[in-house]
């Protein structure tokens, strides 16, 4: 195993390119909260590791679009008054991350995105906010809507030599709401709902976040039920915490609560 503690984005990209050219599947480490323990347990068999810790990609810039680097932690998001004002949805989501002060200091939004786990807070929120990922490799940069990057549980549309350098999120000042259902402080989120304007995005019901358009704010539950019932069986999500039937039963309520919060925030 080789580990590169890249000192710049370029160094990281070079290391990635070399590893990918050799046919390996390099592991990129942002916060490390998911992939480091997986490597230690041997679940993630990494020939090459590229750790971004020293790349300085931890900047958070707030303009009409909020730009945040791969290393920006939940705590940075929570502490930023500008994010709080201009992306209250992101602020609220980050404030509810479990694992204590430590995980909020260590976990990153980009890491959560690249992990592509249905049982995560960030995904539905990023999709709801129409965030874009800045995808870079030694041969160039592209931007991709987050929703397009997410393929299936644990899988993203990233080539072996690509990494996500940061996110661009348009400001979204008003009328958003976020609700997550989890079973105990230790548990992963089970069902999440991020409400924005005319849609609610659900996490934890399918392999990837589900965008449910809301023709009217009164019809939230019905819209969610219709959407879920139309989900092909193979996309329905269940894990140890709860079977699909449970998620199907609670999701309309979680969505309705998120929409209610959004109404209040108008």
């Amino acid at each position: 195993m080789t580990t590169t503690f890249a000192r710049s984005l370029d160094e990281a990209l070079t290391a990635l390119a070399e590893s990918a050219a050799a046919g390996a599947k390099p592991v990129v480490v942002s916060g490390g909260t998911l992939c480091v323990p997986a490597m230690v347990r041997g679940e993630l068999d990494a020939a090459d590791v590229v750790d971004l810790g020293r790349t300085g990609l931890n900047t958070l810039a707030v303009g009409s679009v909020i730009e945040l680097g791969a290393l920006v932690s939940y705590q940075q998001v929570i502490s930023s008054p500008r994010v709080r004002a201009e992306l209250p949805l992101l602020h609220r989501m980050a404030s509810g991350i479990t694992g204590g002060i430590q995980i909020r200091n260590q976990g990153t939004l980009v890491g959560a995105l690249c992990a592509a786990r249905p049982q995560s807070d960030a995904l539905a929120v990023l999709v709801a906010l129409q965030a874009e990922a800045v995808v870079v490799s030694a041969s160039g940069t592209r931007t991709a809507p987050v929703a397009d990057l997410l393929v299936s549980p644990g899988t993203t549309h990233l080539a072996a030599d690509e990494l996500v350098a940061g996110l661009r999120i348009p400001a979204c000042l008003h009328g958003t709401g976020y609700v997550k259902l989890k079973f105990a402080e230790s548990s992963w989120p089970v069902v999440t709902a991020a409400a924005v304007q005319d849609r609610v995005v659900l996490g934890g019901v399918a392999g990837t976040p589900q965008v449910v358009p809301l023709p009217s704010r009164r019809e939230v539950r019905a819209a969610v039920v219709d959407h879920l019932d139309a989900l092909p069986t193979e996309h329905r999500w269940a894990d140890l915490r709860a079977p699909w039937a449970y998620r199907r039963r609670v999701a309309p309520e979680i969505a309705a609560r998120a929409v209610e919060l959004a109404e209040e925030a108008r």
């Binding site: 195993m1 480490v29 480091v36 204590g100 430590q102 200091n105 260590q106």
Partner: protein, 150 residues
């Protein structure tokens, strides 16, 4: 690689797969960070790295090159304990004490930002750490006490 641990400059040569907790314990002999899960759940590997409260089982050792690491051992002494240590001792906020690195350093971090926390804020700040002996009642009391002593 070099790093600074509890004020001392040290030089070590970790394996690429080593995490920071391995290096602190196995190479540097620290007993002030411990291993309870290697999964980011229990918090007993907690240390302050460049002032940030982190779980060191989640950090590849090489990432900490040049960093300033402070463990529980750097806080105070028996005759001059840190107010949070004193409060945990006075309130009998632990039994076996295995969880204390995370408990105490989380409380220290909380009070640095929030000098008069509410109970909910205290419980939230301790929530990155598991304690199996106590039920947290006295730990919450201890953080209240430390806050009042400031």
């Amino acid at each position: 690689m070099r790093l600074q641990v509890d004020g001392a400059h040290v030089q070590i040569d970790p394996d690429p797969e080593d995490t920071l907790v391995d290096v602190l314990r196995d190479e540097l002999g620290s007993t002030a960070v411990r291993v309870g899960c290697r999964n980011g759940d229990c918090g007993t590997c907690t240390a302050l790295v460049d002032g940030q409260c982190v779980k060191t089982c989640l950090v590849l050792a090489g990432r900490a090159e040049g960093a300033r690491v402070e463990t529980l051992a750097s806080l105070g002494t028996e005759t001059n304990p840190h107010p949070v240590q004193e409060a945990f001792l006075a309130e009998y906020a632990f039994q076996c004490g295995f969880c204390l690195p995370g408990m105490i350093l989380s409380a220290v971090t909380l009070l640095a930002d929030t000098p008069s926390p509410s109970d909910a804020e205290i419980r939230n700040a301790l929530s990155g750490n598991l304690c199996r002996c106590t039920g947290y009642v006295n730990a919450v009391r201890a953080v209240r006490r430390a806050a009042a002593a400031r």
